[in-house]
């Protein structure tokens, strides 16, 4: 024991020292290689299709496509507007309700909302608000006089409003979660009390004193939402306009077109999308700077906030309630559809129920679900090693994380998937490593790792370092201190981070499909393939299954520590 200690410490330290670098490489390499694999064909280089000269032809034919400017405009508008609305609603809600009992109830609804897959949420919303949808059925024909659905353009409207609605309903919970995490790092409550004691209204007080402190911490999540909104495919196919579609959807259409020469144009479109996302991010960043400057003047002027602003908390709450109700009711509708036989307009409930869909899909789904869990479990376990390795290196070796590496961590979330995954697939195939279980795990890691790191880093850094000092004073080495003190103390955040990672892995569609070569099936790849059929009954079955897995993970993260530490009051959730 005495002999082995310094040796194992030395090896462990050397390994530990490399972990952050290794992690960064793990994220940077696939994204960088994938972007190269996208840009090269856009500039004419794709030998397999006879492209070997540098040329701008692909961009020329892209711009010549009559829908180009409109598609680009749609991508920009839906991305920026949905992000602004989601952020606005999140901040408004937190500003006006933080610290109340109702606010705690809202936060409890977050994990089920986050567990709903994007595509399923979109289908659910479409079923609710379409002219033949649930809401119209509820009021027909007795109030509306409609015996047949009216010919109203609601879903897939040319302005992309329905798509924006769907994005806001799914992204607001995510930003709210990120804001809650950031709030734990600042003393928001006492700042608010201080400001209110000087006569400030609740919302104004929060905006002037708390927001400037937490915004830097939610900035990257906001950027991720912006990049996602601009490049989303699955939700846009269901809710977005089609004449033309947003640029990301159009890119996928070209990638999957039988005319192989369109592959160059697809790469050009993916590149344009990539640059558009970068431009939008820069524009957003500049707007932040301007807003911050205006904010300083606003603070200096000392306005306490009009009564009207403070009274608007009811509006914030009802907007948030509506958007989450859309998701929940949509899911309820889909769940009902999965047991439905015939359900015609304007019946509020199905005319007949049957179990056929579940009987047919159930057995197949069970096998797929097992593979999904295996894949997600492995990704999470590996990611955990890297994340804890990085954080432990930070604690033990006092390596401070450079702000730039946080950006790298977010890179896979900021670069549109359609901008680098097709390129990455070509590379994976050329090295002969595609289609295997482990490559797909590696592809999932690129997305799982950032989310888990972001989720675990704050609680890890917030842990009182004096526990460590006490342990060391009692003779515990750094390893014992890690395994016997830090990890058990952090069990709850570790499990929460794992549940987040698990949900992220379960939700991956393009990485699984492209890197897995169609040979690795998960609930999500199955669900999207089946959803292409638009059959609400089957979508209902898969959406529920897809939702249940992450939900169980979140539930376990809550229950396990409570059971383990049931005799330890100091470990209870405060």
């Amino acid at each position: 024991m005495l002999l082995s200690k310094p040796v194992s410490g030395g090896v462990a330290d050397a390994l530990l020292r490399q972990t952050p670098r290794l992690t960064i490489g793990l994220l940077l390499l696939p994204v960088g290689a994938g972007i190269f694999g996208t840009l090269a064909p856009a500039l004419g280089w794709m030998p397999a299709l006879g492209g070997s000269a540098l040329t701008l032809d692909a961009f020329r034919s892209l711009i010549a496509w009559p829908g180009f400017w409109e598609a680009l405009r749609l991508s920009l508008v839906t991305g920026i507007v949905s992000t602004a609305l989601s952020l606005g609603l999140t901040l408004w809600l937190v500003a006006s309700w933080q610290g109340t009992a109702l606010f705690r109830t809202i936060t409890r609804l977050l994990s089920p909302l986050l567990s709903v897959p994007h595509a399923a949420a979109a289908f659910g919303i479409a079923f609710l608000i379409a002219p033949s949808g649930w809401i119209a059925r509820l009021f027909s024909p007795w109030a509306t006089g409609w015996t047949r659905p009216p010919d109203l353009l609601i879903v897939q409207d040319p302005w992309g409003l329905t798509l924006i609605l769907g994005l806001v309903a799914k992204e607001t919970p995510f930003l709210l979660l990120m804001t809650l995490a950031a709030l734990q790092q600042v003393d928001g409550n006492r700042s608010r009390i201080l400001a209110e004691s000087m006569g400030y209204g609740r919302v104004t007080a929060w905006m002037k004193t708390v927001l400037p402190l937490i915004y830097p911490q939610i900035r990257l999540p906001v950027y991720a939402v912006l990049a996602y909104g601009m490049s989303v495919v699955d939700m846009a196919v269901i809710l977005g306009p089609t004449r033309p579609s947003p640029l990301a959807v159009q890119t996928v259409t070209w990638i999957t077109d039988p005319d192989l020469s369109l592959r160059f144009q697809a790469s050009a479109a993916a590149s344009v999308l990539l640059f558009a996302v970068i431009a939008a991010l820069i524009a957003w960043w500049l707007t932040e700077k301007l807003a911050a400057r205006a904010g300083q003047r606003w603070v200096f002027a000392g306005a306490r906030g009009a009564r009207r602003v403070q009274a608007s908390r009811g509006v914030a709450l009802s907007l948030a309630a509506t958007s989450s109700a859309l998701v929940f009711l949509g899911m309820l509708g889909l769940a009902l559809w999965s047991f439905t036989g015939l359900w015609r307009f304007p019946d509020v409930l199905p005319a007949s129920y049957r179990l056929t869909t579940w009987e047919r899909e159930g057995p197949v789904m069970f096998g797929t679900a097992t593979d999904t869990v295996l894949l997600a479990g492995t990704s999470v376990a590996l990611a955990l090693v890297f994340v804890i390795g990085c954080l432990e290196a930070e604690t033990r070796l006092k390596i401070r994380v450079h702000p730039a590496s946080l950006l790298i961590l977010y890179l896979p979330l900021l670069v549109p998937q359609i901008g680098f995954l097709p390129g990455l697939q070509t590379l994976a195939i050329s090295f002969g490593v595609d289609g295997g279980f482990w490559v797909v795990v590696a592809a999932h890691l690129v997305f799982v790792l950032p989310y888990m790191f972001l989720s675990l880093a704050d609680p890890w850094r917030a842990l009182n370092p004096q526990y460590e000092t006490v342990a060391a004073a009692l003779g515990a080495g750094p390893n014992r201190s890690l395994f016997a003190i830090r990890l058990p103390l952090l069990l709850r955040p570790i499990l929460t981070a794992s549940a987040v990672g698990f949900a992220v892995s379960v939700g991956q569609y393009l990485p699984t499909l492209l890197i897995g070569g169609g040979r690795v099936e998960t609930l999500t790849t199955e669900a999207v393939a089946l959803a292409s059929g638009g059959n609400r009954r089957i979508i209902g079955v898969y959406a529920l299954a897809q939702m249940i897995l992450p939900f169980v993970a979140f539930a376990l993260a809550l229950i396990v520590p409570t059971l383990l530490f049931r005799r330890r009051r100091g470990m209870a959730i405060s």
């Binding site: 829908g67 353009l153 036989g341 169609g518 059929g533």
Partner: protein, 402 residues
Amino acid sequence: MKRLISALALSASLALPALAEPDPKDWDAVVAEARGQTVFWNAWGGDPRINDFIASVGDEIEERYGITLEHVKVSDTATAVTRVVSEKAAGRDEGGAVDLIWINGENFVSMKRNDLLFGPFAEDLPNWQYVDTEGKPAVLIDFTEPTDGLESPWAMAQLVFEYDAEMLPNPPRSAQELLEYAVENPGRVAFPQPPNYLGGTFLKQILYGVLDDPSVLQVPAETVDYDAVTAPLWAYLDELTPNLWRSGRAYPQNEPRLAQLLADGETDLSFALNPARASAAIADGELPESVRTYVFDEGTIGNASFVAIPYNASHKAAALVLANHLLDPATQARAQDPNVLGFQTVLNMEALSADQRAAFDALDLGIATLAPADRGVSLNEPHASWMVRIEEEWAARYGVAE
């Protein structure tokens, strides 16, 4: 970057030397080689009935030939084509991920022209003897492109229209009547947005309806006066579009979503390339029992579904056995059963034994399915070049908001 390129080149040059390809003429050897292989069949996964059928085929070839079938459910056939292209791009000329693709039309033409297919093999399959090459010429010519044995047919398709007989006693029976109906009942007719496959088929159907001499469609569009030939089509669509569902400002994306519109009562008409789809949907409770099908007086577009083997497939022997099994009279009879799939057989009844034929005779058509004799004329698919140009022009005229 230089290193990356040389790494790419290196991996291409490291590709294994070509193994002997299976030869379908030596069938026993193919069957022997196939035993124990796993065949990855990339087929559209959007219809549970088709998925069930493929699963049952998998059980059969497992039992009979010791082959494991993995159904790779793709949301679009082109995904599988893309896969093969990417593999070729990466120099993977052996050990590809796709063994068999459900394919036809443009996807086939594209793969054929880019030398991405294995074969010819189709006419050497033992069950080829039953295929109706005389009565169903579409099994040899896919969108006017000769198949050259590079793909093997497994089902016939014909466009049929679906309507609710209780709501609409007299459905429009020609392209002209359809236009009149739409003008009188705005918002009650829709078609999937081209380049969707079914949407493109609809445009071709209308083209047949507005041409005096449709035979021009069998030659490449470049060889005739394209603008003059298609002028009546655009005149027709200019009148139809403002009267479409959502005034033509939005379109359903694909066949299932078109069908959902009929089921939701948003439209009065739907159509499908599977004549038995409506009966199956009624049986599953997705459509009311009053739904019926019919064809246009001028006839409707018919074509065939094929399977093809990529040039770099890993398990060609098993793919061959599977392609052959799909032509087995028993398999074909089951596919034609409206309670299973309702796909029309590619086989010639005359070539079958009495026992084999009995399986077909025993089939119940299903409540909404037309008997083969009532399906009128099956119109040939136009040359693929027509579709390419019409889709492009449609996109420019109607596919982008003005």
